[in-house]
């Protein structure tokens, strides 16, 4: 339990750093945050154009390093808080769930092989969903964890449940009630893509955020 607390604190600090970094004007190429507390070497790249709109990429590739060319996730041009004010939650709305320009429309978090640790590039996404839960206490979500096909099936059930628990732990730190989230581990039983290569495996190692009524 201790490690989880430390990890989520670390994650919150990191996401705050990201928000600060992204709010700066004319950040030319990239802001790179690298995890030091984890065994993988994830890096996250955020680019900001002159107009001040922030964009980022959610990577879902076999490599831990995420660059624009390798991305599998969609671009998003939204970060929580209008005018980059993290305390402003006007865009954190149920309508945002179905707005492709809103980060809330993104519901998949990808993982490293045999790991349940959250990659830093997903902190903003997870925190944004957590804020939505805080804002609507009757809202409920399922966090459905999945694993790739490698390794044994019941171990993968446990691994995929640990992944959904990791997401839940970070969300709870943002304020919603833990009863708003249900976790489930499907293991390798419901792959999203066929194929037996690193690219397919990455797409299948995921947690899907599913809102009960949306």
């Amino acid at each position: 339990m201790k490690t989880i607390t430390i990890k989520s604190t670390f994650a919150i600090v990191l996401s705050a750093l990201l928000l600060t970094a992204c709010s700066g004007q004319n950040v030319k190429e990239s802001t790179t945050g690298s995890t030091t507390g984890d065994s993988n070497n994830s890096t996250v790249t955020n680019t900001t154009n002159n107009g001040g709109a922030t964009s980022g990429t959610l990577g879902a590739d076999g490599n831990s390093n995420v660059t624009t060319s390798e991305q599998e996730g969609n671009d998003f041009t939204y970060l929580p808080g209008a005018n980059n004010d993290p305390n402003n939650t006007q865009d954190i709305s149920l309508a945002g769930l179905s707005d492709p320009n809103n980060l809330l429309s993104q519901r998949v978090i990808y993982f490293d092989y045999d790991k349940a640790a959250i990659r830093p590039e997903y902190m903003v996404l997870i925190n944004t969903h957590a804020k939505l839960l805080s804002k609507y206490p009757s809202l409920k979500m399922r966090l459905e964890g999945h694993a790739d096909e490698r390794g044994s099936r019941e171990y993968n059930v446990a691994l995929s449940e640990a992944r959904s628990q990791s997401v839940k732990n970070i969300m709870v730190a943002q304020g919603p009630s833990s009863t708003q989230m249900r976790t489930i581990g499907y293991g390798e039983e419901i792959p999203i893509v066929r194929g037996h290569n690193t690219k397919s495996w990455q797409k299948n190692r995921r947690v899907e955020i599913k809102y009960d009524d949306y």
Partner: protein, 416 residues
């Protein structure tokens, strides 16, 4: 009128297709047999039982079946056989005939002309008669009980990446014949495990949108929920006395090993680590072998069923998991350099032999005599079953014509 007719016609085709796929026979393909096993010759038995017996003996990896044309005219069963005349061709000769719905089989040693005659009684499943004859021959020659007249349980999946995916739990003969679906569900079904009397299967089903462990009678279809606690209800394994199910539950946090009393459902906690503990299998009545990543990667550990400290069993390879134990042998998954293969070792010995050569092999299950291992492998992109002898001399594949077939569970010896 015409429309109704067409509709009914299409519907009947649809029903035919769906029932056909539900009963789909696995296609059996022998990829490798032993050429330095015990040479045995089987004379033709009216009705064809010799073909089934031959296939059984072959897949044990302990026999080399001599081609029929190597002996021109063997006296038919009932006539005098001078077995010594064939000692340069085979060590044993099998002859037989159908007998009141069953089978009479004669095994003759060519070294001393000694004969043993077995009478197998009739059975609704006629293939089982031949399997029982194969078991008798196997036991007489190897002095180890035969396990051909047993069953496999396995899971099939069709349309696995679409919303139409369908999971089915099947029971078949040990060679894949006579399959019967005992459960179908749109949500995952996994981890079948046999009761020691071979009448029931425990399994995990997500049919209620979360995992639960059920126990189902394979003949009556009657099923009972044993555990549907919060979190994981997984990896059931029946105790040798049939009274308890070991399982992995995460109701108290991280997944731990528990045992559940089958009659009253009460659980007893076995492990208490904060890591993943899963895939228990019984090693005798009072001990369990399970998978844990408490040391940083998945490895096998042994613990008393009453709890206490766990002892690590595997040290070679970055990934060792999913143990199955029968007749003092332990089969498991070993991951090394990106490939996952089936390994076997003596329960108390050191070292292990790798039995498979695929990239992603999993779910090993031992025949009750420990002589063969069924497992899941990839063929042409789909999961398929393979059976390998413990000496890796013989291997066969059981392929489904549609979709995946996986997670074999080899039954104990059958009582009926």
């Amino acid at each position: 009128m015409t429309n109704t007719f067409i509709y009914k016609f299409l519907l009947s085709i649809l029903l035919f297709i769906s029932s056909a796929s539900a009963m789909a026979e696995l296609e059996l393909r022998i990829s490798k047999t032993s050429d330095d096993g015990i040479p045995i010759y089987l004379a033709n038995i009216p009705g064809g039982a010799n073909g089934i017996i031959e296939a059984d003996l072959k897949r044990s990896g302990r026999f080399t079946v001599i081609p029929r044309n190597k002996i021109n005219e063997i006296p038919t069963y009932g006539k005098t056989l001078n077995a010594g005349a064939y000692s340069s061709i085979a060590d044993y000769i099998v002859r037989g005939k159908p007998l009141s719905g069953g089978l009479e089989v004669e095994l003759t040693s060519t070294s001393d002309n000694a004969k043993t005659i077995y009478k197998i009684s009739s059975n609704n499943n006629t293939r089982r008669i031949a399997h029982q004859a194969a078991d008798k021959i196997y036991e007489k020659i190897t002095r180890e009980k035969g396990a051909f007249d047993t069953r496999l349980a396995y899971v099939t999946v069709t349309n696995k990446t679409s919303d139409n995916r369908m999971f089915r739990l099947y029971v078949s003969d040990s060679d894949g014949h006579s399959p019967k679906a005992i459960l179908s569900s749109r949500l995952p079904v996994m981890s079948p495990a046999w009761s020691p009397d071979a009448n029931q299967l425990a399994y995990v089903s997500f049919e209620e949108n979360s995992s639960a462990i059920y126990v189902q009678n394979i003949f009556t279809g009657k099923k009972r929920k044993i555990s549907a606690r919060d979190g994981i209800n997984g990896a059931p394994a029946w105790s040798p006395d049939g009274k308890r199910l070991a399982m992995s539950l995460s109701v108290n946090g991280s997944p731990d090993i528990y045992t559940a009393n089958i009659s009253n459902g009460q659980i007893t906690r076995v492990t208490t680590s904060s890591a993943i503990d899963t895939e228990p299998t019984w090693s005798g009545t009072n001990s369990l072998v399970f998978t844990s990543n408490r040391g940083g990667s998945p490895q096998l550990y042994r613990i008393a069923a009453s709890g206490g400290s766990a002892q690590r069993l595997t040290f070679d390879g970055k990934y060792n998991s999913a143990a199955d134990i029968a007749n003092k042998k332990l089969a498991f998954v070993r991951g090394n350099r990106g490939a996952f293969n089936i390994a076997i070792k003596s329960l108390n010995g050191s070292g292990a032999d790798i039995l498979s050569n695929g990239q992603l092999d999993e779910s090993p299950t031992l025949s009750p005599n420990g002589a063969m291992v069924a497992y899941t492998t990839l063929k042409n992109g789909d999961n398929t079953l393979a059976v390998v002898s413990d000496n890796a001399e013989a291997r066969q594949f059981l392929t489904s014509p549609v979709g995946d077939v996986r997670e074999p569970a080899w039954s104990p010896y059958l009582n009926q």
